[in-house]
Symmetry: C2
Subunit: 193 residues, 2 copies
DNA sequence: AAATGCCCTTAAGATAGTTTAAGAGTAAAT
DNA sequence: ATTTACTCTTAAACTATCTTAAGGGCATTT
């Protein structure tokens, strides 16, 4: 069931044949995660690439004042990766925490590298995963340097219509880089029209 | 001379042997670019991965009002890539323009794919290039949603000390997501201390 | 040498976003 | 069932940033 979702996800890129599915699935570990549970904490080295089969996570940084800043939401059918920590084995500067009860599939670095070596298709598929996230990030930088908070909020609603209904506005505000109070004001303005 | 710089760049990742250098260099085209010349325009499909051997470029977006927003500066010893346009052959939404007279090395997509197929080392090296840029981008998003303009400016000075002396402040302001007037004010504040 | 264009700065007034405080509503914990 | 914690909203005062306008300094073009 859970694996099926992952295979279906790869079907969007380069689909895997029976043998490749075997190779992949025997290297994956399934985990259930409770709401508010962390799968990565600041200072730890990220040991896994993680596929979200069900649920939703946030990736965030905590500044010196103790304020959280949400870098990304990752919901079902998407990958969680903390690239710098994972590949370079550096301590992570972010936390990754479940916002809902979730089910994930995880693969370790040695296993992933084996897959890369054994079959270029994996290399390609995982490159595409990074590329997609890359495009998302560049768009976010562009928005951040060129748009007002209201524009960013409307873009978010547009881009993640389902997510925006599942997430509390406090979390969305933290993602947009504004205070919850100001988001509230924006929402009021919008609803007036 | 120009090729040497590229090889030296790869030495930071997984160094290439003689044969691999051959394979790579016969697929590269060297180009001289004048100041203010574009190597990619909005609407065009990005046909190359580009290594900057000398000089400096800016990658920017132009909004509906005609205002430019700098997404990135790319100086010597770094790679220019417009991933979405290059891999998915979509029209680019950004321009890439030389800020100084420059020398670049370019490789086309078919040639790059051939390299990927022929030797996993290339795959790995180009993955690392993306990863590095990726980390840079995540840091930028974090800064954008969590820091004031002054903090972002100080981080920029710190992170790109040489660049910050070569670039006009108007360009830096566009990168930071503020107006040149406000950057001027910030600089005055800082120098008072 | 004059003219043009680009860059940097200053300042006043406007707008966008934060802070603090408070209250009401809802979900979670005991 | 009650308490506790979290979320959303409002408003007033404050701070960060933008807009407009203007002037001076270089460098490049004519």
């Amino acid at each position: 069931m859970t694996l099926e979702k992952l295979f279906a996800n790869f079907d969007n890129y380069i689909p895997l044949d029976e043998e490749e599915r075997e190779d992949l699935s025997k290297r994956l570990a399934e985990r259930k995660v409770k709401r508010r549970q962390f799968i990565l904490q600041e200072g730890d080295v990220c040991k896994h690439y993680t596929f979200v089969a069900e649920g939703c996570f946030k990736k965030f940084h905590v500044d010196k004042k103790g304020t959280e800043h949400n870098l990304q939401f990752i919901a079902e059918n998407d990958w969680i990766m903390e690239i710098d920590s994972f590949y370079n084995e550096k301590p992570s500067r972010v936390f990754i925490e479940a916002l809902e009860p979730s089910v994930i599939l995880q693969i370790t670095k040695p296993d992933l590298i084996e897959l890369f070596m054994s079959n270029p298709k994996f290399n390609r598929n995982f490159r595409v995963i990074i590329e997609n996230r890359f495009v998302e990030l560049e768009n976010r930088v562009l928005q951040a340097i060129s748009s007002t908070a209201e524009e960013r909020y409307l873009t978010f609603l547009n881009q993640y219509p389902k997510l925006s209904q599942r997430l509390p506005n406090t979390q969305i505000a933290s993602y947009l880089g504004i205070t919850p109070e100001f988001l509230s004001k924006i929402r009021k303005e919008i609803s007036k029209r």
